[in-house]
Amino acid sequence: MAESVFSSTGTGTETGAIIAAPATSAGSGLTRLRSAGLPLGLAGIVLAAWQIAVTLAHIPPVILPSPASITKYIFDHYDILLMHAVPTTVESAAGFVIATLLGIVLAIIITYSRLAHEALYPNLIFFQLIPKIALAPLFIIWLGIGSQSRIAFAVFIAFFPVVISTAAGFASVDKSMLRLCRALTASEWQIFTSVRFPAALPYIFSGMKIAITLSIIGVIIGEFITAQAGLGYLIIFATARADTEISMAAIVVLCVCGLLLYGLVALSESIANRFYSAENT
């Protein structure tokens, strides 16, 4: 009679799971094709319309070069573009990494110290209201025209979303879960490593995904103001000479670099998730 209660519920859900499993796996192939195909198709249509409009309306290349001529420029001058892409990407990555570490450390301090929370948190919110881009020239005064000023500025605008979302992630842990840990005589360190930090991971990564785009923006603005190399420098330089084709090519390369960095963040997220769902943590 012991079995009767369990087996009846057990098989019920089991069949449910069996029915559900193939339905999702069969659907995923089509869904994946659709979710990749639709945006690519739309982008293709827009590019084609652009190409046709530029050709038919005889828009001068200085106003709007055609996608074809931009593509041709990229293939003909990939060495120059690559040369400028490297400092921009490296500085963006550096700014992003520092912003992430700084953001997580600040979030830990806010979470564990009530005093720090009360003193720091309102200021962080206020800080967020400053149009931070307006401060970019000051970083040149403070740190010079080298890459350190651009990295510092990237950190300055990128760390904020990491702090806020990481702190929200640490606070998101279920109160009963914390009580369970305390009832098990868990140390604060154990609670942090085995409950709080993994629970906050989705929050941390959503903050990081915002931070990586902000970091690139920070570096580009820095390069607009002063630089001898970098895609931001190339864009300003080319635009000043009314060479729109180079500007557009630089922007395309910038998009690719941004996508690459974003992809690395997404990749590290899936690695972290796999690590925490594994057995040995």
């Binding site: 009679m1 079995e3 209660v5 859900t13 279920d174 879960m177 009832a183 085995s194 925490y276 769902s277």
Partner: protein, 282 residues
């Protein structure tokens, strides 16, 4: 502790495993002190299943949290095996209303969570975890994540987790009240079956009269404002318990008496607005 042999079905033991002596709990809020428990004294023998029954806000969960060492009484003392409970102890298993599983971990890894926290050797306990999951009918689900399990299955995982490190005492805080009525009935039978295999001392908080009567050796009714123990009643039913006992007139009589006690304590105040209840000051 050594003197007491595990004595299944013997309700009265020589000296109690848990001894609650005139415990009081007052919360000091900004407005006024709120007395959650005015006075409570209960003795619980090893192997006994005792329910704390009462309406919401009667202090039964507070009393349970004090037994877990998560809250300190403001008066009186709680002894476990002769020593006072002042902080959480390793030999207590606890189950809450929600399963509170780690969503990124599989069922078996959730069961092993206390083993990791207590830094016990994993491999021998992995075997025990499989045994426990098999006992609750979840053998095929040990590698599933909580999101892939039903509410009842998740709560069964939580029960396995509470039992994994073989604690002396199981503290259960309304463990089935978030489940639907059918699942809840199944969980009641499941729990009494588990306890036939792994004999434990259980303190079970509930506001369901039927559940308390079905599961317990003794039902302790809490109530009144401020809250005290209104009734401490032995359940006269045989073990193992099956659904059929709920159809007996004896069961109906017991439930009726429990309900009358609760209504007697709260009857005059049940119709009062919440503001009147909030102002319990002593």
């Amino acid at each position: 502790m050594l003197a007491i042999q595990p004595a299944p079905n013997s309700v009265v033991a020589a000296s109690p495993l848990v001894s609650v002596n005139n415990v009081q709990k007052t919360y000091f809020t900004r407005q006024a002190p709120v007395q959650a428990v005015a006075s409570a004294s209960v003795n619980i023998a090893r192997g006994e299943f005792v329910s704390l029954l009462g309406p919401s806000g009667c202090g039964k969960s507070t009393l349970l949290m004090m037994m877990a060492g998560l809250e300190r009484p403001t008066g009186g003392s709680i002894l476990l095996g002769g020593s006072e409970i002042k902080e959480p102890r390793r030999d207590i298993g606890i189950i809450f209303q929600d399963a509170t599983l780690l969503p990124w971990k599989s069922a078996i890894e959730n069961v092993l969570f206390p083993v990791r926290i207590l830094k016990l050797p994993i491999e021998p306990y992995r075997r025990r975890a499989r045994e426990l999951l098999a006992l609750v009918g979840l053998s095929d689900f040990e590698n599933k994540k909580p999101a892939q399990l039903s509410g009842g299955m998740r709560q069964r995982v939580a029960i396995c987790r509470a039992l994994i490190h073989d604690p002396d005492i199981l503290l259960m805080d309304e463990p089935f009240s978030a489940l639907d009525a059918i699942t809840r009935d199944q969980m009641n039978v499941a729990l009494s079956e588990i306890l036939e295999t792994y004999k434990k001392t259980v303190i079970f908080v509930t506001h369901s009269i039927r559940e308390a009567a079905f599961l317990s050796d003794r039902v302790v009714v809490m109530g009144g404002r401020p809250s005290t123990i209104m009734l401490d009643m032995k359940m006269p039913f045989e073990r193992p318990r099956r659904f059929e006992i709920e159809e007996t007139s004896e069961f109906a009589g017991v439930c009726r008496q429990l309900r009358l006690t609760i209504e007697g304590a709260h009857g005059g105040q049940a119709s009062q607005p919440p503001a009147a209840r909030g102002g319990v000051i002593e």
